[in-house]
Each structure stands twice: as structure tokens, then as C-alpha cells.
């Protein structure tokens, strides 16, 4: 079966940003993503889901390389300095390129 190369952006950040990021992603032309609650430890210390606004979320976005550049640049510029945020980009293969 034919496979298509895409980029997977994984973002781990503060759950307080969830709705703001959803708005941003919409504006950047991202039509699909997956968000899950996350917990772990990093430079900002232990992040736990004591209540909804102190926990972490993990967002996964699959898109083409050009969109991936736009998204990561936007997030770096707007959120990296003041929020607990990290992201990484990986190469993935998908079955239906039109979906993204």
C-alpha cells in the first residue's frame, strides 16, 4: 500500500493554554490534532493534574513540512519564553495524504 511522508509535531505544554492553542492552530490552517492529558517532570518541576489548570497536555499534529515550519516558528515566537513548552518533530508515514 502506498504511504506518504509527513511531519508529526508533538507539543508538551501547560493545559491552561489548551483553548488558546486551539485558536492559534485554527488560524495557522491546522484542521486536525489530538490532545491528551499528560504528566511528568521537566525544567519547570513536577507537573501534575491537581486540577484542570495546573496540569500538562500533549498535542499531536500531523502535517506537511511547510506547515510544520510555520507552526513551530509561531509557537517558538509566542510561547517559548514565558510558558513551559517543548516540542519535537518526527518523520511519519500516513496512508491518506489528503486527510492532512
Amino acid at each position: 500500500m502506498k504511504q506518504y511522508s509527513m511531519k508529526l509535531i508533538t507539543i508538551v505544554t501547560e493545559s491552561v493554554l489548551e483553548h488558546h492553542l486551539e485558536d492559534d492552530l485554527d488560524k495557522l490552517g491546522i484542521h486536525g490534532y489530538t490532545i491528551v492529558d499528560a504528566r511528568g517532570k521537566g525544567s519547570e518541576g513536577m507537573r501534575d493534574d491537581f486540577w484542570s489548570n495546573q496540569g500538562n497536555i500533549r498535542i499531536e499534529i500531523v502535517c506537511d513540512e511547510k506547515t510544520s515550519d510555520t507552526v513551530t516558528e509561531f509557537l517558538y515566537k509566542h510561547y517559548y519564553s514565558d510558558y513551559a513548552m517543548m516540542l519535537y518533530i518526527s518523520d511519519v508515514s500516513v496512508l491518506r495524504s489528503k486527510k492532512f
Binding site: V16, E44, G45, F50, W51, S52, N53, Q54, Y83
Partner: protein, 310 residues
């Protein structure tokens, strides 16, 4: 005097957390308990509103509103000049301490009820009124009246936060339905209030214990501030109570509101409005120091101060 059992539940949570016991309420249960507390408090205030015209309460509300602006303005210079915190951090902590904690309010209400002391039934209105001003003060202290502050987005964050929506929603429902109407649901919200509060405080004890590690990092100033500033605030609250001619129970409630520090509404607003301020700093002070202090020692202390001043 016997200790209120709800306080013992808090101490249980705190001790279990400090000893790293394997215990945690599922977060959905914690959310549910806080929803019941918020609605119950709102409903109680709403029932009172249905009995007396809102307009009669406006002078009281204005005085409490002014207090909400004064408290963070008192806290800020202490944190900025004495504590040498960064401006944004000082403002954010001041915002937390100017605002209120519903959990602390509920404990004070339970404390007074168990002693048979009555207080003005419109107190939940003051709780709502005091949530907001400190947030505005904190933002203006750092940004000034800047065009860059997105007030629209921010007011969404402030007014549509869980605690405000449920408190005001409860107030409105209580107001519209009145005392008779609410009787049909009192089995859900009023009768189990103390049991719900006990479980809520058990989890809050666990959460407070988890802040202790961070407290070690930030040192003694924050510990001292988290205890001494609430006592100063309580005197401001009692003075406002005297000025408004409230009953002694009312003055204790107002003192507790003044002394309590926010840990839900303000942290969320500060993350959006002043993202450069450290969220752990203010949460450590408000949850790790002030909340336990108020629950265990503060409320009875404010009662004593009020008795001395009345």
C-alpha cells in the same frame, strides 16, 4: 474547644501527603466536590437575595469591592521592596493574596456554624465580589493601562472561570427559586455540605503537602509572608466589618475572605495575563503556606481578633 472534624480531615491529608502515603482522590471526584461546594455557597447567597432587595446591599458591596483593590496594593510593596521579588512575581503573588479562596470560606462557615454563631447570609456575594479586583490590580501594576493587554480575552478567562460561573449561577438559581423552591434540591447541596467539605479538605491536604518541596527552594521570606500578611489582611477585613456594622460572625467571615489567598481563579488568569511571572512561586505561598495556616490556625485566630476589636 473541640476541633471541627473537617479540619481533622485536612490534617489527615496533609500528614498522609508529607509521609508520601499512597492516597489520592481521583481528580474527577475532586472536581465534583468543588462543584458541590461552589453551588451550595452560591445557592445560600441567592436565597438571601430573594429575601432582601439587592439595592440595599449595594453600599456593603462597594466597601468590600474597595477592600478588594486595597489588599493587593498593600501586599505588592512588601513583596517588591522587602521581598525583592521581580515586579511580575510580586504583582502576581499580590493578586493571589488580594483574591479569595472558596475552600477557606467554607471552613470558616463550618467553624461558625459549629459554634452556633450566625453571620450575614449575603456573605457569598462578597466572595464573588472579592475574586476579581486583585487580578486587575496585579495586571495594571505590571503593564499599566496598556493597550497591549488583551482585556477581552482576559475577561473571558476571569469571568468564565469555573468558580465564578458556578458561584454566580448558584446565586441566580437561589435568587430565582427562593427558599421554598430550593428545598427540593437541598438534599444534594446543603445536607451533605460538611461531608463534602471534609473530603474536599482531605484532597487539599494532599495538594498542600506536595507544595512543601517547592517551599524549601523559595525560603523563609515566602513562608513568613504567607502567614503574616493574612493576619494583616484579617484586621483589614474586621475593620471593614466594623465599618459596615456587621455581626461578629460576619466580621469573622469577612476577615477570612480578606486573609485567604486564591489558588484556582487567579493562577489561571495570571498564566494568561502575566505569563512571565512564576506560577510555582505564588501557588507555593497560597497553597503550601496560607491555606493550611488559615484552615488550622487562622480562622479561630481571626475570631479572637474580632472578639477583641468588637
Amino acid at each position: 474547644m473541640a476541633i471541627d472534624p473537617v479540619v481533622l480531615f485536612f490534617i489527615l491529608g496533609l500528614s498522609a501527603g508529607l509521609m508520601r502515603a499512597e492516597m489520592r482522590l481521583p481528580s474527577a471526584i475532586y472536581e465534583f466536590l468543588s462543584v458541590i461546594l461552589l453551588i451550595a455557597i452560591g445557592l445560600k447567597g441567592g436565597i438571601e437575595l430573594s429575601k432582601q432587595p439587592f439595592i440595599d446591599l449595594l453600599p456593603d458591596i462597594s466597601v468590600v469591592l474597595v477592600m478588594g483593590f486595597i489588599l493587593p496594593l498593600l501586599a505588592f510593596p512588601i513583596l517588591y521592596y522587602l521581598g525583592r521579588f521581580k515586579k511580575a512575581d510580586a504583582a502576581s503573588i499580590a493578586g493571589h493574596y488580594g483574591s479569595v479562596s472558596v475552600g477557606t470560606y467554607a471552613v470558616a462557615a463550618s467553624y461558625l456554624t459549629s459554634l452556633g454563631i450566625t453571620y450575614e447570609a449575603h456573605m457569598p456575594l462578597f466572595l464573588v465580589v472579592l475574586e476579581i479586583p486583585a487580578i486587575i490590580v496585579a495586571i495594571v501594576l505590571v503593564r499599566g493601562i496598556s493597550k497591549h493587554t488583551k482585556w477581552g480575552q482576559l475577561s473571558h478567562e476571569i469571568f468564565l472561570g469555573k468558580s465564578i460561573v458556578l458561584l454566580i449561577g448558584g446565586l441566580l438559581i437561589g435568587w430565582i427559586a427562593g427558599e421554598e423552591g430550593i428545598k427540593s434540591i437541598s438534599g444534594m447541596f446543603f445536607d451533605p455540605f460538611k461531608g463534602v467539605l471534609a473530603l474536599f479538605l482531605l484532597e487539599m491536604g494532599l495538594i498542600a503537602a506536595s507544595q512543601v518541596g517547592a517551599l524549601k527552594r523559595y525560603g523563609f521570606f515566602l513562608l513568613g509572608f504567607g502567614i503574616i500578611f493574612p493576619i494583616i489582611s484579617s484586621v483589614v477585613g474586621i475593620s471593614a466589618g466594623l465599618f459596615l456594622d456587621l455581626s461578629i460572625g460576619g466580621a469573622v467571615m469577612l476577615a477570612t475572605l480578606a486573609a485567604s489567598a486564591s489558588y484556582i481563579a487567579v493562577p489561571a488568569a495570571m498564566r494568561i495575563a502575566l505569563p512571565e511571572s512564576s506560577p510555582t512561586l505564588s501557588l507555593t505561598a497560597s497553597l503550601g503556606v496560607t491555606f493550611p495556616f488559615n484552615i488550622i490556625l487562622g480562622v479561630p485566630l481571626y475570631h479572637q481578633i474580632a472578639t477583641a476589636l468588637y
